[in-house]
């Protein structure tokens, strides 16, 4: 018989009653989904780590202050914060000159938080291929794809967040998938 997983809502209640381990469980349960969403948006590991930390600290504060009202959509709440922070980051970057290294790459690109360099190199090819393909999509299509696939927001939630009709959100997702498929074929990648 499989173990029953305690729900996010229950974890939040226990956390508010003083059990810190419950927030740790929430964090570890959702970190991959949230971090993947962020890194696919900002395309930079250093910045993604920073936004990831700020996102969960803001989430912590929202729970503690009672601003987070549980509706059973905890990870979607976190992803919405992450997405808004990523947009803020791009607004800041537009105002800040980019510092490039000798080979022209952004200084931030050369920094890494990875604990294991060898592991990072092994995974790099596959991940970079997918990430690069997604990054070739138009921004509006990429946003819907990231929020739906990695952020687990429904199309209705995405429509509300991006202030477009639901059919537009769905249409963007359709184009994102079709274009991604074309890119895969163009680059002769096999699934």
């Amino acid at each position: 018989m499989g173990a029953i997983q305690i729900s996010d809502s229950q974890l939040i209640v226990h956390f508010l009653n003083g059990n810190d381990a419950c927030f740790e469980t929430l964090l570890k349960r959702h970190q991959k989904r949230v971090f993947t969403t962020i890194i696919m948006i900002v395309k930079n590991e250093y910045v993604a780590e920073d936004i990831f930390q700020e996102t969960f600290i803001k989430t912590l504060s929202a729970i503690k202050s009672g601003k987070y009202v549980d509706d059973g959509r905890f990870v979607q709440f976190v992803v919405r914060i992450a997405r808004n922070m990523a947009i803020d980051y791009f607004r800041r970057v537009k105002k800040t000159p980019i510092i490039n290294g000798e080979t022209g790459e952004s200084i931030l690109e050369s920094l890494s938080f990875s604990e294991n360099k060898e592991e990072q190199i092994e995974k790099k090819d596959t991940e970079n291929t997918i990430r690069n393909l997604v990054n070739e999509l138009p921004e509006d299509q990429k946003e819907v794809l990231l929020l739906r696939h990695y952020g687990d927001l429904s199309f209705k939630e995405i429509a509300e967040l991006t202030k477009v009709p639901i059919n537009t959100a769905l249409g963007r997702m359709r184009y994102a998938i079709i274009n991604l498929r074309k890119l895969i074929e163009k680059k002769s990648l096999t699934l």
Binding site: F23, K32, K64, R148, G171
Partner: protein, 81 residues
């Protein structure tokens, strides 16, 4: 007459956002209609490819957040006490 199925509906179906009645109609259309089946399978494959991209945050970031959790408890009284 069979209801026309849009590609957007197939995408919603893949992401489990269609209601029970629509899900049944779409599932039947996938079996009967070759074009729908092709789009469904291609989309499903593309979506599966996206699953290969899953990145963990660093241990450093996790620890920084957990430190904040501890600090926040020093500031906020435990409601159960």
């Amino acid at each position: 007459m069979q209801k026309e199925i849009t590609q957007e509906q197939i995408i919603s179906y893949i992401y489990k956002e269609t209601n029970e009645i629509d899900s049944k109609i779409i599932a039947e259309a996938i079996i009967k209609d070759r074009a729908i089946k092709l789009f469904y399978l291609e989309t499903l494959n593309t979506v599966k490819l996206l699953d290969a991209e899953g990145r963990d945050a660093s241990i450093t970031s996790i620890n920084i957040i957990l430190d904040e959790v501890q600090k926040s408890n020093l500031k906020t009284p435990n409601p159960s006490l």
